[in-house]
């Protein structure tokens, strides 16, 4: 065929390791691409057979398939998704019930054992105040995961709804919103955090979450606006309109699935930076304050003693890195699964 190079099933499924049935279906797709588009359509003897195999592995044969069910089928077979999902699940569990794996109290400290290395019952050693690093790392997951997940959800929802609507409808509101995002972009994050959070009383994560959402949504809103404008220009949107589809249908069925990929990528990367931002703000003393337990507080507390007691810094920092990595990998896998071309 003249239009596209033949569909390269090998390249498309590399690494992710689909099952045998999916490979069969992919090779069938190759023969489909190569055959001339005659009125009969390419209907080789292996065609129906391969399809039945592919169907057998998925939902019952002949059932309608949709983007989301196909994406879920793909994700379950993707080891990257499985591993990162398990890590995130584990993090969520210990964030909710830290006492499941850590029996101690994170606030019970013994100055006599300050900066000590690992000891029986205290596998990660002790920090500068003589607190158990293992217990504090486990308990610190709650603040970090709460800030990361809630801030990202808030930013992604607010940003993509506002940006998407502005991009879709255009006009005056689009111009108005674009100027507002410009104003928010002009606020320096750390300075804004110092000013805003120092006047908010209380020692919970919610002011921090609120502050991150307030400063973070313009970034996602710009990306969502841009990708909605790109998706809007495609002929399939015109086709849907010509069929009489309503605006909400066009937005949800046609534009959102095609515009969501960059939002997912940026949001997952932002999730890592939000956890780090919470740590930064805690370090500066305006985020969470001791006696709250968070990775950011622990990292900042351990940083002066890095030469004597590196373990006190490395364990919470490692936990932070693994958390951020897990979320980024998850976002990557979800984005790929939502693109049928990569299947």
């Amino acid at each position: 065929m003249p239009e596209q190079p033949p569909y390269d099933s090998e390249g498309a499924v590399a690494g992710t390791g689909m099952g045998g049935a999916m490979d069969l279906a992919a090779s069938e797709a190759t023969t489909l691409e190569r055959a001339p588009g005659g009125p009969e359509g390419p209907q080789g003897p292996e065609g129906p057979g391969g399809r039945e195999d592919a169907e057998g592995a998925g939902p019952a044969a002949g059932r309608p398939r949709s983007l989301w069910s196909d994406a879920w089928r793909d994700l379950r077979r993707n080891p990257v998704f499985v591993v990162s999902a398990l890590v995130i699940l584990f993090l969520v569990v210990i964030a909710v019930w830290p006492s499941l794996i850590a029996s101690g109290n994170p606030l019970t400290c013994d100055l006599a054992r300050a900066q000590d290395g690992p000891a029986p019952g205290h596998p990660f050693g002790f920090d500068g105040q003589g607190c158990d690093v293992y217990t504090r790392t486990v308990y610190g997951a709650r603040a970090s995961v709460t800030v990361g997940v809630c801030a990202t959800l808030g930013v992604a929802l607010l940003g993509s709804v506002l940006g998407g609507l502005a991009g879709f409808f255009g006009g005056t509101w689009d111009g108005f919103l674009s100027r507002i995002t410009d104003i928010f972009f002009a606020i320096p994050v750390v300075l804004g955090g110092l000013v805003l959070l120092s006047v908010v009383p209380g020692n919970t994560v919610w002011p921090v979450v609120g502050f991150i959402v307030l400063l973070g949504w313009p970034q996602i809103s710009r990306i969502a606006r841009g990708s909605v404008i790109t998706a809007k220009q495609h002929d399939y949107v015109q086709a849907a309109r010509a069929l009489g589809a309503s605006n909400s249908r066009i937005l949800l069925r046609h534009i959102a699935p095609n515009a969501v990929a960059p939002v997912i990528v940026v949001a997952t990367i932002a999730l890592g930076t939000y956890i780090a931002l919470e740590a930064t703000l805690s370090y500066l003393g305006v985020g969470l304050k001791p006696p709250s337990v968070s990775w950011g507080i622990d990292i900042s507390a351990a940083s002066p003693y890095i030469r004597n007691a590196p373990h006190a810094l490395l364990w919470p920092a490692g936990a932070l890195a693994i958390t951020v990595l897990a979320f980024i990998m998850l976002g990557d896998a979800v984005r790929d699964a939502l693109d049928p071309k990569l299947r």
């Binding site: 239009e3 009125p39 949709s66 399939y236 095609n258 049928p340």
Partner: protein, 382 residues
């Protein structure tokens, strides 16, 4: 809009189109009912009258000020009869695709009317507009962007049924989709595949199946085969002809390939710079063109016979197409026409049967917007 009618310019540049029988409707129910009425073969089903679309040119960032308009479509009129194919040809930028979008109500017309079964669809909204959309469908130019890459073929072809649930009961939809795939020559088993797994020709068939899903009466084809290679073009064109006979469809076929338009069309309209230059049956246009622009266009058609090519009279136009934001006065074609005289700049030629051919019944007696229309057989010229 600013100056749709210049001084001395007629409001309707096409005096001898058939009368429109405007339907008497008082409520939305009556409008919807009138749109479902049957139209006999050979009766006009779509009547376009003096259609105008100007895209405003604005300047300024905060306070937008209109400084002009791109006159993409500037007063065209034609009829589409039930069961026929009307080809519209013209070079790039002459307003062909804008006409298609106006007919689909994807763009709001600046002025003029489009009557479908006696109702002006440019003024409809709500349920009546939805009923019109059920009856007028479109096939798009580029099969690579006209199908949503994240929907399965079953979802793409089934979407019309979701939007118009009255057409097919819920349990029946999947069977209907498979039937449609079969009708356009695709294996019904492909219902769960994604568009990227198909070739260009197969994708265009999927687009055609989506257009057919609602059993429309009129299909507007905006360059449906330009993006395909020649062998696949033939397959798609033949499929469209077969479907026309099978479902009694009326086509408006927009293209820039003259030979394909001749192959499929019953009548052909030639557009230049937002106006209709000449309109007639395919024999009248191709064998007896009277408008100089049509003659120039036809003389550029490749001829496969080297002998005939040697002796044929090529008309090579000089200059470029003028900007549609600032079109020439009078006849739009005068800046590039070898026959142009002072009259052409002062007086807009009407799209009418030229005086000199009015009494004869030669095929040259068809509507042509030229003061100095004369017959010149460029295709067979030796």
């Amino acid at each position: 809009m600013a100056d749709t009618t210049k001084a001395g310019e007629p409001t309707d540049a096409t005096p001898n189109v058939s009368d429109v029988r405007v339907a008497e409707v008082k409520s939305e129910e009556q409008a919807v009912a009138a749109l479902d009425e049957h139209v006999d073969r050979g009766e006009p089903i779509l009547q376009v009258r003096n259609l105008v679309k100007h895209f405003p040119l604005t300047q300024g960032i905060l306070i937008k000020r209109q400084i002009g308009a791109v006159k993409a479509v500037d007063g065209i009129s034609f009829d589409l009869y039930q069961g026929e194919t009307l080809g519209i040809v013209g070079e790039s930028g002459c307003g062909k695709s804008t006409v298609a979008k106006l007919l689909m109500n994807l763009e709001r017309a600046t002025a003029g009317e489009i009557f479908y079964k006696g109702q002006d669809i440019t003024k409809l909204s709500g349920r009546a507009l939805k009923a019109v959309r059920r009856n007028i469908q479109m096939i798009f130019q580029d099969p690579y962007t006209s199908l949503n890459p994240r929907m399965t073929v079953g979802d793409i072809i089934g979407e019309p049924f979701d939007i118009h649930p009255e057409v097919a009961p819920k349990g029946d939809r999947r069977r209907r989709v498979k039937e449609l795939l079969d009708v356009v020559g695709l294996n019904p088993e492909y219902i769960n595949r994604y568009p990227h797994q198909f070739s260009g020709g197969q994708r265009q068939r999927i687009g055609i199946a989506r257009g057919l899903a609602l059993n429309p009466e009129v299909i507007i084809c905006d360059e449906p085969v330009s993006a395909l290679d020649v062998s696949v073009q033939a397959q798609v064109i033949n499929l469209m002809e077969r479907l026309q006979d099978e479902f009694n469809l009326s086509y408006i076929f927009i293209a820039h390939d003259l030979s394909i338009v001749r192959h499929i069309s019953d009548r052909v309209g030639v557009m230049y710079l937002g106006r209709m230059a000449e309109i007639g049956t395919d024999e009248q246009i191709y064998d007896h063109p009277t408008h100089p622009y049509t003659q120039a266009l036809l003389s550029a058609v490749p001829v496969p016979d080297p002998d005939a090519r040697e002796h044929r009279d090529r008309i090579i136009l000089t200059g470029d197409v003028p900007s549609p934001a600032n079109p020439p006065s009078g006849c739009r074609f005068r800046t590039r026409c070898w026959k142009a005289q002072d009259k052409c700049a002062e007086e807009t030629p009407l799209l009418a049967i030229p005086e000199r051919f009015k009494s004869s019944d030669s095929p040259a007696a068809h509507e042509s917007a030229c003061h100095f229309a004369e017959e010149k057989d460029v295709v067979h010229a030796a």
